[in-house]
Structures are given as C-alpha cells and as structure tokens.
Symmetry: C2
Amino acid sequence: MQSFTEENYLKAIYSLSLRHEGDVSTNALAELTATKAASVTDMLRKLSDKELIHYKKYQGVRLTEEGERLALQVIRRHRLWEVFLVEKLGFGWDAVHDIAEQLEHIRSDELVVRLDSYLSHPQFDPHGDPIPTPAGEMPETGYRKLTEVGVGEGVRLMAVLEHSTEFLQHLDRSGLTLGCIITVQTINDFDKSLLVQTETGSTVFTSQDVAKNLLVS
Amino acid sequence: MQSFTEENYLKAIYSLSLRHEGDVSTNALAELTATKAASVTDMLRKLSDKELIHYKKYQGVRLTEEGERLALQVIRRHRLWEVFLVEKLGFGWDAVHDIAEQLEHIRSDELVVRLDSYLSHPQFDPHGDPIPTPAGEMPETGYRKLTEVGVGEGVRLMAVLEHSTEFLQHLDRSGLTLGCIITVQTINDFDKSLLVQTETGSTVFTSQDVAKNLLVS
DNA sequence: ACGTCTTTTTAGGTCTGCCTAAATTTTCAG
DNA sequence: CTGAAAATTTAGGCAGACCTAAAAAGACGT
C-alpha cells in the first residue's frame, strides 16, 4: 500500500512523462510537487525500492508497469470524483480540482466501483479528460492542441490541459465552453496568438498560452 | 488547521466524554485510538498548546469550546458521508464506517454545505445517530438503552452505539432493523440477557452486550 | 579536451506521530 | 497512613517526508 505522498509522486511522474518524450527529470518533479530536488531524490529511491519506477541515478525516471497501473488508478479516482462534484453537487468545473486531489486518496475499491456506477460510468471528467478504465488503461482521444489548428478550420473544444480555477474562470468569461465549436480566424505570426470565432458569432482573442491548453477535435 | 490525527483525537475525546461523566483518561484514549499511553500524552500536550483541550498532567482531559466545535464538525462530516454512502451509493449500514472515517477529513466547507443540501439536510445517520448542526450543536435525542427498558414495554429501535461490521451484521441476521418496534418479553436476572419480540412476531434472544448498544424510544 | 555551469545526489537536520523503557504521580487496600 | 499497584509522564529513539548546504556527475561552449 502507498501513502498519499507516494500516490502523488506516481501521478506527477505519469503526467510529466506525457508532456515530454523520454524520462522525467528530478527538477521537473520538484517543481510539480512543489518540493525541493533533494526531497524528490529521497522519494525516487523509495519508489525504486518498491519497483514502482525505473530509476538510475542522474538518469531520470520512468514508471514500471505496476507504477503506471497505480498512477492510473489514482487518476481514475480523481476524475470520477470530479464528475461527482460537478454533476451531483453542482460545483463549477473551476472549483473541483483541489477537492478531488483529496478525495482521490480515499482507499476503498468498493467505493470506486459504486461511485462509477452511480455516475453511470462516465467516460470523461468535467475538463474533458478521459477517465482511465478499471483495468488501468488510459483511453486514447486523438485530440489536438488548438495551437496546431490552421486558419479557417472549424473544430470542437473537447478538453483543457490546465485545471486551475484562474484558467477555467478565464475561459468561462471568454465564452469558451466544453463542446463549443470554434473557427480559427487569424493567427498572429509574431506571438502565435489567435482570433477565434465561437458558435454565437462572437470573436475571442486567445493568447498562445491559453491556446496550448485547449484540446480540440 | 488540524492534522487528520489531531481531528481523530478530538473526536475520540468527545466520544469518551459522552460515555462517562468527568474527564477522559489517557489510557482510555490510548485504547480507542489504538496507540500507547505515551503517544497520547504527546498529543495531549500539543492539543493543550493549541487550546483545544483543558489538560492538567495526571488529571485527565476535557475539550474546550473550540475543541468541541471542531470535534462536532468532524462528526458532522462523518455522518453526512455515511448517509451519502448508504442512500446514494447503496452501501449496507455495516460497510460505511471505515470509509466515512477517511472522508470525514476532507477539507472543504463548501463541500459539506453542498453535500448536506444534496442529501436534503438529513437529521440522522444510517445508525440513527443525530447529525450535529452546521453551527456545531449536537441534537438531543432522549433515547434510552434497551437495557433500561422493563418487561412488557414496547419500544422502537432508534439507533445503535456500536458501528462495527460484525455487530451490525449480527443485528441484520437477528431481524433487528432501525425503526422496528420491539417488546421486552423476559429479562434473565443472572446475565441480564433479554428475550424481545419483534413486529413480525418472532422472538429474538439478546445478550446484555448487544442490548446495551441498542437505543430505543 | 577542459573548465564552467547546471543538475542531481549525499549528508545532516527538522517536525510529526509513533514506540519502549524508566521515572513519577496517583490511587487504594489493609 | 503506607506501600504496592496502576496510571501517567518523561526520556530517548525511529520512520516518513521535508529542508539546506555541500559534493558529485553530467552537459556544453570554445
């Protein structure tokens, strides 16, 4: 059995290994977990002893099969709870991340099974992220970042990569909601910012920083 | 802000101070929290520094107003989650205690407010225990223990004091459910065991150990 | 290929919550 | 009232997860 902290490290390693090819660095983990590199090294030794990660000193880190299974289990719980908080308790999608960070560590297999069934086996969380299967597989989505879409293309906003309250409230204010259809009107060369048109006809200015966190299909 | 452990000690002190008059002893706390007396002493010093308990060495311990407020807040969360687990997720009343022990420590005021409202402001948990008010007051029930009921008296089973899976499954097997009406037929003098008749007409043998954990009105 | 800069690890320390063993205080029987 | 037993506290330690400072390893420009 793993501690909350260990589960958080596994999740962090998983999510960093999606972001960049190759192994995950100690410094990147330190930043994501808001700790110092030395603390990360301590934990890596421990996770390595438990055979949850492949780790060679100075070489970066990668999840073992078992480590990935556990990481996906935590992510599954996190996303199911987010669905519960939004669908059942009526929280806004911008308010659920921190609470789900706590709920994801509740230990009870039966609870996850029942919650999943109570929520009618949702496939996606309120941010559009796919929910890992009970068997520990992450469904493929094939979404692209909005930054990869060309001028004139019409696409649907499917998911967001950033879950902070600030970012999501910014989207709300811009009228960008999950599932809405948007068309890229202009791409500014010098800063890669975009002008996109929404279903309602209004035009929204979107910086690259925002666009790279929007997934479309 | 308190740690999980501190919250558990506050809850333990609260529940022991209901059981016996006067201050709570170190040993009683050690038994309830499944730790050693020396560890309890450590924690009492800490809680005393935070002014959550009245504590004089060798004299036992009592919650301050603030300590009681916090204890009741934890108990409120525990009982609300138990209602959720039984009413919404379909758990048996014998299976929810351990999960609620974890959920009760989730930190979010908004979550408790929404959960309470989602559950339609329940007054009692699945074991018949009253749910403390948001203001931090424990509702009075006036229930008696079944051991205090005389022969021939007909009463209604309102709550149970013991929440272990084993005890609750025993009640289920005996046909004793919350809300059922029972009549005391016989009290055996030598071991204080009872014969009670249920609504359905069947007669149930009830040892004193069981009867003292049944609350009726 | 070499010195410098960056990254990572090691060494040694803190704080929390637990432990055992020993000392102290309280209780209670006679 | 007193001395043994019981309850409690103190002393000193350990493990988890973090820290700072210093050492070691790796990366890189010239």
